[in-house]
Symmetry: D2
Subunit: 391 residues, 4 copies
């Protein structure tokens, strides 16, 4: 069967969010011919499923259709949303699995009315299967774009093996977060799973092992879009030129829902965790004074600003500073990566390459590794690995 | 003979300048054990001649000894200069070849009193040979750190072949600039030649061909230190993420002698020329609104500031901006590169690899290529080529 | 007659430009109730003629109606322009007086087909009188928003007295620039004149004297909007705290027609001239390293960016730096000032206060003074003078 | 008695700190003729006591002499400290009153070994009197430069009247913080008191009333040096031009002891409190999104960096941004203000003007007012009030 004929479903957790609606609007604009593939970094890779063969669905705590949601996020101008045709309005989010214990600031009425973990998993699995059937899909990939959950205790026995995880499911163990429910449902319906958020989700030994056993690709975690992306570009250059990083102070101001969720200390903690090791690994030494701030600042909406100050020591101990101010658009940076990831985990599945997809580290702040070792963070190295895999 | 026993002379054109005295001070500090190799990017490559085996001499329009010169440049603190011992004060610059037609703002009294081109060449050759003999050197490398000359007409027949160049020398053809005199003298004394300045110098067909014929390594041109270095780090990342560069505005303020020379429009033109193609080549398309300003601004001295604004278009035509403010130290960034280059052209000579050293493009804004084709500018790609060559 | 019943005509030189169309759109939006007076700094001064009593007309080299022009400038969103009703489209620019000798980059087809200076003056006077009659106006004020002209030789006898100027008019003396034609026509029709541009225009002894004789208010010159405004706010504070300014480097990037005109060296020179003395006067001493750059940079359009670096010396000679990056909107900053100036010269005329209006220095980079002495530049001092005058 | 013959003692709480040693070094340099009065904003006011008539002493938890302390703070270069002569080394700090309940991160061994509040007050009073006698002083002024204390409950009855405060002293009421002990001791020895810190100290009804009754001048609180100073300069200008402030995000990175103390959440809270109202009062409306961050970041030492982003709305609702990056020197900005304050409270005492010195608001982030009303914050208004008072 030719690529053009294949249909890949993308079931998004948090389908009504800013990143999701932006990504979907982009594909709809492509479908109606209202835009080109300019901002899509792997548009040149023709072996992947075409963007226009992607079909979207998903879960959201807010039941509004995606056109309504997109207008609300104000990432795209009203006329751009309208130009994308009827595609957005046609998607109505399925009820979502939520747990205030894991993410306090994410609330909504469109909730799965089931309290048992097993019941929730079965519900999500049924959503995936119904999506597959109704849309006549060759494959479903599940992409997590939901709000950041607090970080679980990763040393708990329940998260170590597929068997222990199964028992925890049946025991309604509170360690199982909503994003784990989605990941488990994806893996057990043989749907490749992408975790674009900082939540632990599939990045636990139990689920990585399960994915490997079943041959289901899993990618993650935490999309590398703005400040951290720049950090993994500049830090290797400083290392290359022996400019020692004495300190790196990063602050972010943003006013979208992502920022609002991070106003909750627990979610913020999870977020900052994935940002942490990047710098040390790029440089080859520990930077004690590496600080990262994320502040919710309403005037900006989705137009995030990331300000960095780097203190450097050069030859003969002489001091220098470099400051970077990135006036970026969170969702605009993230959306094309989400589309590429959907295409790439589909490709991995076609190649029957299951388990943690290390070659996709290019897309993530905290790339998962099969053995839990520290991944490579330098962007250009990640790109080389990925381009080689793409062939 | 072991590396430790070899002695390599470094004959610097502009030996009394800020970059030169900083580099030499660094080696002297190493010799007396007053500093380590922290800021030297290839300190780990043990196959190269040790830094402490480098011996310095050179030409300068100012006859002051290097300790005096170093104090004047105010790049290093007085106590650092003093800690470097008697080494700096022991170097008294040889009279230099100058031509106000090529560099108006560089003036001084320590001038070779010969007006014929051939006479000047022979004088410089004699300096090199005397240096070799007096210091008992295994090799001399010549490094050009002199002020930027105006750009010559590269299409003139005199610059196309070694033979035509020879005739031009004998005819006192005004196309032959001082930096060509040094380059020619270096090549014809089998001394590897490094051009760290934007001047054309050895980067003309006649001299590249001559260097190849004689098996003498030639490297250049224009050290890639601050703003352009960062540009060749960020631009490939923007390309990688399909962030289209709509415009890139760069301004530099600096108050050292380099800045003063660039106050002369002709020298500035030469400088800007070497900065030009970098961006387009890294991105793969032409950026019409790429502007580079260099302004002489006294309050800063050597503490240069490079401010960049980049206008980007991302997914679905959405606009972003990134601003970079690099509070750098011109000479501090350049000096270690000069030391590494001296070691590397020595290594190339040991390997008997003559002509244009393309693998050293990592160090330069406008890397020379054997066939005059556009070189690769992305820093990480250049580093990979270089590390491979180093083995 | 009550204020509400008075009608004041504003005849704008360059009525189709970005600042002009923005200002007029604002008044039209007020008239239809689509916006409030939020961005208008003297909305609280009820003794001035109401904004909604202003009626607009004027000259432009481009004959397009103002709705068309406003869409072209892209300062306001299409829906804002449309919300302003039929007012903009109803204004068709009158043919303008132009002279490529004075402003090379400003070109257009809507030109007064008269070559004699006297003939041009009479034509402009007739325009003003026709405007007054047709619109049943109580007063006409003329506002110059045209492109910057090159700077004339201010020492020429023709510019010293009303009589000499008259003779120069009759002799078609080339020293008389288009903006002087408009200023002269305004003064001799008893229409208060505002010069918001850096062109000399009415700021010559001959015309200031004439205005004083006839009792016509004249205000100027060069609207103080972005970088210079901030400079006259910060510099007095540095002086207040004894932070010595060692250097002040300012660069501007902008891509609107204003920027395009300043791409012409002569116009740029005039512009920079008005920016020059501001700093020294605010500080009380001369700053040798005060540099101002203006660069035409297309990606930005009207969204100008002004970047400043200030080098400071504080207590005990310790160095500090402050950098200001103003992402501003040229026309948005200027338009409300234009409206206030129109109201204020009308007020001055009501009070029968003719000649140079020194109390309006608050609005200008180079405030005119009756005796040609250096004006006060500190914004807060200017504001106090103005508020006192307003009463 | 002429000014030259008067001697004013300055007893500093925290005399060994960075600001204190910098200020004292400055006076010592003046005394030996090694510097001028360049960085001192009121050097032109000859009616104040000369800087060289100031004599220093004070309390510190660290007993090291001030030369040692100054070297440690690294605000001034070693050669500058040495040039100031024997003056610094001659000052040995007196044992200080400390209470970890009020300031956790400020620790040291040089402590007053008395636990009762009354005992501590008497001890401090005795220090002041001994200082007066031994140095033959015409007046002692007490300046608080100690680390920031946590904020007390200002509504407690003990802080409302002199009588209630007396009773609280005798009852060893824990509401009485160390800085209140110093303030009380100053007032009751008729020594003018300056509170340059954010601690409540004398800014409580009980002590302001006591100072008024006894005719002792009291000034405070929290020196306005860097970011807040700039804020009170820019905000009035935005208001003047009707540029509406939608949000103001401020972050500070600093690595001196001040920063370390503010790492403690309670002290930080007190600090942020004094920064809070400034903006709203300057603008005339409440800015909901006004955020201030202070982060302890070691690489910088005393060379603080304050980065501000301001979101503005201009005419017709158009958005703009301004960013300010102030690379300042905390102690260099503060030290001259401390010296001026010492001279000014001495002057107030000479004029017999006791109680809260409202005319000194120019120096403070949170100027005290007699009736507790919100003070004026705009720097230029404060300067006018002060200059008028100075006469």
């Amino acid at each position: 069967m030719s690529d053009e004929q294949r249909k890949v479903g993308v079931a998004v957790v948090g389908v009504g969010g800013a990143v999701s609606t932006t990504a979907i609007a982009g594909v709809e604009l492509l479908k109606v011919g209202a835009c080109g593939t300019d901002g899509l970094p792997f548009a040149d890779v023709t072996s992947l499923v075409p963007y226009t063969s992607l079909v979207f669905g998903g879960w959201d705590l807010d039941g509004d259709d995606l056109a309504k949601a997109a207008h609300l996020h104000r990432v795209l101008e009203p006329n751009v949303i309208e130009a994308s045709g009827a595609g957005l309005a046609a998607v109505a989010p399925w009820p979502a699995v939520a747990d205030p214990e894991y993410c306090r600031n994410a609330v909504g009425a469109n909730v799965v009315p089931i309290s048992s973990v097993r019941g929730r998993i079965d519900h999500v699995r049924a959503d995936i299967e119904r999506f597959r059937t109704e849309q006549d899909l060759d494959r479903v990939v599940v992409v997590n774009l939901a709000s950041t959950e607090r970080w679980p205790d990763l040393t708990l026995p329940a998260l170590q093996t597929p068997e222990a995880f199964e028992q925890a499911v049946d025991a309604d163990d509170p360690v199982i977060s909503p994003s784990m429910v989605y990941a488990y449902a994806a893996i057990t319906t043989d749907s490749p799973y992408v975790n674009f958020t900082p939540s632990a989700s599939a990045d636990i030994p139990a689920l990585l092992e399960l994915a490997l056993q079943r041959g289901v690709p899993v990618a993650g975690k935490d999309g590398k879009t703005g400040q951290t992306m720049i950090k993994t570009v500049l830090a290797p250059a400083f290392a290359s030129r022996s400019l020692h990083v004495d300190g790196w102070y990063s602050t972010n101001i943003l006013g979208n829902r992502d920022g609002q969720v991070l106003d909750d200390a627990d979610s913020l903690q999870a977020k900052l965790q994935t940002k942490g090791n990047v710098l040390d690994q790029c440089l080859g030494y520990h930077v004690e004074d590496h600080q990262v701030r994320i502040d919710y600042y309403k005037p900006r909406g989705d137009e995030k600003e990331a300000w960095d100050n780097v203190d450097l020591t050069g030859f003969l101990g002489q001091k220098m500073q470099i400051k970077v101010d990135f006036l970026c658009r969170d969702s605009i940076l993230a959306a094309p990566l989400v589309l590429e990831l959907a295409r790439m985990v589909d490709e991995a599945a076609r190649r029957k390459e299951g388990g943690a997809q290390e070659q996709l580290g290019y897309f993530f702040k905290a790339p998962i590794t099969r053995d839990g070792s520290e991944p490579v963070h330098a962007l250009y190295r990640q790109e080389q690995v990925l381009r080689e895999w793409l062939g």
